[in-house]
Amino acid sequence: MATTTSIISSNIARPDFAAIANLVKTGSKVLDLGCGDGSLLRYLRDTKDIHGYGVEINDENVQACFKNGINVIQNDLESGLSSFGSGSFDYVILSQTLQAMRHTEDLIKEMMRVSKEGIVSFPNFGYWKNRLQILSGYMPVSEFLPYQWFDTPNIHLCTLGDFERFCLQHGANILERRIMNGNHQVSFAPNLFGALAFYRFEQQK
């Protein structure tokens, strides 16, 4: 099937999927919040043999999930995760969705309730290219922030520093951090040179 091939090849081209897959144990149970067309779950299923569910609000995306053969629950993340039992997942993933959530604090709390561990990825607002655009007097527009200021869904952008402080204040214990720029992991001055951030965390015990 032509569509299947194109989805798989686009997965290979997505280093952020690989970064998340690296954080996930084989055979685990995964919940993907704001799962889009389901291609991350599909990728994790194919590469990590996970048992996964996605949550998605958009009709077109839900339909794409159906086509991808992914379990998807059409629901608004903003109204909570009440369909999901406490501790019922190994991982709950929020992939490049954090910055578009209105009730960020509630959602992170809910993530820690339903899952043993949480994985969050987001575009680092502190990335030097973003800083440069602001210095030049304009809101950043880039591969990971593709919107103009007037049409962006991103209402809660943050830097690595912001997120780590947030975790500290909200009882989230960071277990692993991967900062990426394209295919490369960034270790030197990540808040400046990292474009995408991946965090694995758990509820502080």
């Binding site: 569910y53 339909q63 039992g85």
Partner: protein, 375 residues
């Protein structure tokens, strides 16, 4: 989606089962007949069968039309056919009139061999569980060991659910559309008003109206009018009828004035002409009794621990008879059991009846889901 092909001319078939059927109520039927239709071809390893279960007042005529009655199109014809969401080019679709019905399967209008008269009110109460047992008999008769999918809307969705609990190895996928895991008090209340309309009709004669050569038309008509209101949404009624008058100005009387009155009376009359009152009573009771969690102290999660199938659960935003919250409860129980489930809430203005409509998103979802079923 309307331009897609129909399954064309169909014929109903009938099969008689002579092994005694022990009903949930304790009653026993020594034998019974089921009338059914099939569309498409059963493949060699019999892995492509789909059972379609019907709702309260519908029947086994789900798709296509009859050679001698071309206007009588199946009630889910927009969903089932070649190239449609449930593709008869891929699947062998089976649809059966439920036991207790009035469209050919053994029911209150059938002749009771012991008395030589129609069963009437003597026909035993049937439950959703009883129906699945009879549907299994039909599957055995057709040589189907396992259905690729069982699909139904409303009461039909409840049957699909029941299958996954009672015969988990015989159904791979359940499509549970505009359904609920049990009725609410409000649902039961509506059903009882409908039943009271029938039972208190002077022509009902305790259900023995056939002996009096009459039928409780007024009761059936009221029952249907009430039911119909609950199947529509406030919005769709307002949009379709508003406060339009048939012939202005106001008549200051009780004749039909508003279009909605005319519509409901027409629907009521049409229904009362073709549906059996005792069957209506039985079907509403089957709805009221449906509650798979009952034997598990009301715990739906435990009730579903027996299930193995994959599930598609769909609800409609304006359905207030079986609201999206009712589907959420089903989804939660399935998730708690780590079963494969997809759920979508379809934006539709048509209320409970939405499941019969040809909404594009709705049909695309069913199509995508069915496409992924391996046969």
């Amino acid at each position: 989606m309307q331009d897609l092909a129909s399954v064309g001319i169909v014929t109903s078939q009938k099969v008689k089962f002579d092994n005694p059927l022990h009903l949930k109520s304790g009653a026993i039927l020594d034998s019974y007949e089921l009338v059914y239709e099939t569309y498409g071809e059963l493949n060699e390893d019999k892995s492509n069968a789909v059972l379609v279960c019907h709702a309260l007042s519908s029947n086994h005529h789900v798709a296509g039309y009859y050679a001698d009655d071309t206007k009588n199109i199946g009630w889910w014809d927009n969903m089932i056919g070649p190239g449609k969401a449930i593709d008869t080019g891929k699947f062998f679709v089976v649809a059966v009139n439920n036991l207790g019905g009035c469209h050919g399967s053994t029911g209150p209008t059938s002749i009771n061999t012991e008395t030589g008269k129609p069963y009437g009110a003597d026909f035993p109460m049937v439950t959703v569980q009883d129906w699945t047992v009879t549907q299994v008999e039909l599957a055995d008769y057709l040589g189907i060991k396992q259905f690729a999918a069982i699909a139904g809307g409303s009461l039909g969705g409840m049957q699909a659910l029941q299958w996954t609990l009672d015969f988990p190895d015989r159904v791979r996928h359940a499509l549970v559309i505009a359904a609920a895991a049990k009725l609410t008090a409000q649902n039961i209340a509506f059903n009882d008003v409908a039943r009271q309309a029938i039972i208190t009709d002077p022509d009902f004669y305790g259900g023995d109206y056939h002996s009096h050569n009459t039928v409780p038309m007024r009761g059936l008509r009221l029952a249907r009018m009430l039911g119909h209101i609950t199947y529509l949404s406030d919005h769709s009624m307002a949009e379709k009828f508003g406060r339009e008058l048939r012939n202005g100005p106001l008549g200051f009387g009780f004749d039909v004035e508003f279009e909605i009155e005319s519509y409901l009376r027409y629907q009521g009359d049409k229904f009362a002409d073709q549906f059996d009152a005792n069957t209506y009573l039985l079907m509403t009771k089957a709805l009221d009794y449906f509650d798979p969690a009952h034997d598990f102290n009301g715990n739906l999660r435990e009730a579903f621990s027996a299930a193995k199938s994959d599930f598609l659960v769909l609800s409609f935003t304006t359905d207030w008879r079986f609201s999206p919250e009712r589907s959420h409860a089903i989804v939660k129980a399935l998730l708690d059991n780590e079963l494969n489930v997809s759920y979508a809430e379809i934006t539709s203005s048509y209320g409970h009846d939405s499941f019969l409509m040809g909404d594009r998103y709705y049909h695309e979802l069913v199509k995508a889901y069915m496409n992924n079923i391996i046969v």
